[in-house]
Amino acid sequence: MDISQLVRVSDYEWRIAPFGRMRVPAVIYADQALILEMDQKVYEQITNVAMLPGIVKAAYAMPDAHWGYGFPIGGVAAFDPDEGGVISAGGVGFDISCGVRTLHTGLKAEEVAPVKQKLSDRLFSKVPAGMGSTGRLHLDAGEMDAMLRGGAQWAVKRGYGTAADLERIEEHGCMAGAEPDKVSEHAKHRQRDEVGTLGSGNHYLELQEIAEIYDSEVADRFRLRQGEIVVSIHCGSRGLGHQIGTEFLKQMVIAAPGYGIQLPDRELACAPISSPLGQDYLGAMRAAVNCALANRQVITHLTREVFAEILPGTPLDLLYDVSHNTCKQESHAVDGQSRRLYVHRKGATRAFGPGHPALPGDLRDVGQPVLIGGSMGTASYILVGTEQGMERSFGSACHGAGRAMSRHQAMRQWHGSDLVRDLASRGILIRSPSLRGVAEEAPGAYKDVSAVVDASDRAGLARKVAKLTPLACIKG
């Protein structure tokens, strides 16, 4: 990105004053090196977002921002329905509520080492991954609607997990206001056999070791101890979310002129929150959030079944479950006044600070666990939400490394089998149905997640708590 177009506010905050049709400024949180690496498209996209009706305060780009669809990936924007604010299908994205959850094993690395291979093989055979894979559950119309209404609460009622899990999921495992009636038959058809499947691309299930602790007080509260093993699951709302995104994007593009909305980019397709189309999308999008929560809950259950076979007695309690691609109604203080806003986070993690009423009771005084997934073979991080983050980015932080190189380039540069061998020699087992998929997800194709996490920490969006390094990765 051309840094001369930005005004430096601090080492980690850069601002673009409104010009043209921008209604508010755009703010990028990153250090100079990350800004210089960012695609120029991020500048274009974040300034486009600032043009949307009813946007409040600013359009924000997180330190991992990269070229997305309409919104940059790593984009955050809040809208006020009383000021003509909009909801954007493009601003939420195709993989609605894609997210990460982390489970404690309570086991030391040396206890897991002798069975690592067996665990990886069993997890790979038990958790369906990759294109064309189907889950154990096959939902009829009634169960589909119950799942879309209930989310992880539905899964727990069906025996996939415990009530304690729900406390550690955003929205307590169930997004209110979901309307399965607003979800098309095509979308439901696409999901019928896909509950409890990982998907593909950058989705994974990983065994990770807690390699470093940065904040021992918070780590204690999160029950993170150096040398212990955790399991992290990264996936989303599968075919259902993709189909909802596809269908509403088209409807919003066609309807926008009728609402008097001039779209700077068709991918920013949106509708007024208060309009019938906006309300329909909200109902469908919330159903997709529930689908993602149910999906991660069922995969958690499958993971627990594998551990029960190989390492019986492993608790696998849930630390937390975060979503990356959402639009949520939240209260935020703006110029000293509390306002109900619709906060879009596209490739950004909710990161609520201490005292927020949405947090689980036993973590409320500490802040929200913010789970940042790395790419295959690289570190992941756990951070905690901060008070400054609430003011600076509507309680949002980065979500991962972001790609540095296209899939196309990665495929030319690496061979899947070489990567699997190299990573194995470093003690990282890869299990995937597709060697080409592994090549496209090569660790070298991603930016350095550590730089992104450091910038989030220094910008005050969320504070570093622990670093996780991978031992085994099940890839879709």
């Binding site: 695609d39 493009g90 064309g132 095509h186 593009v253």
Partner: protein, 140 residues
């Protein structure tokens, strides 16, 4: 330069698919082939089963996105890959017959599952050489 081909073009996170042909319909067919190639080598996909697809949109570009999204839907719900396409365009209406086979993980080694065809870099236009081009980014 050939006037009937497909290719991929880079996007930072995902993949661009581009079809070029002497007519818009041929460009749409080639774009579909480019999309299959995001997942696997189209040469590995036997055209053993066929199905019919119809779609309609307000303009050529939205019609291209619709066409690719219908294929993505059929790939997902039928667990199929497609390698042969016969497209007929009538204004902003499309009718197609497509041929393919069921996904065989060992044979096709599917690299990724496609989530959707996006409106990013979405274009249906004539090239300087007079051929038709149809392209967009697909989210994987």
């Amino acid at each position: 330069m050939k006037d009937l081909y497909w290719e991929h073009f880079p996007h930072q996170a995902d993949m661009g698919v581009r079809g070029v042909g002497p007519t818009p319909a041929a460009a749409f067919e080639q774009a579909a082939l480019a999309m299959t190639a995001v997942v696997t080598d189209p040469g590995l996909v036997a055209p053993s089963e066929s199905l019919e697809i119809d779609c309609e949109a307000p303009d050529d570009e939205l019609l291209l996105a619709d066409w690719l999204n219908r294929l993505i839907l059929e790939m997902a719900v039928r667990h199929m890959l497609f390698s042969r396409f016969a497209v007929v365009l009538d204004g902003h209406r499309l009718h197609a017959t497509v041929w393919g086979e069921h996904v065989d993980v060992a044979k096709h080694q599917p690299a990724v599952e496609i989530k959707g065809a996006t409106y990013t870099e979405l274009k249906v236009s004539r090239t300087e050489a007079g051929a038709w081009l149809a392209q967009c980014i697909v989210d994987v």
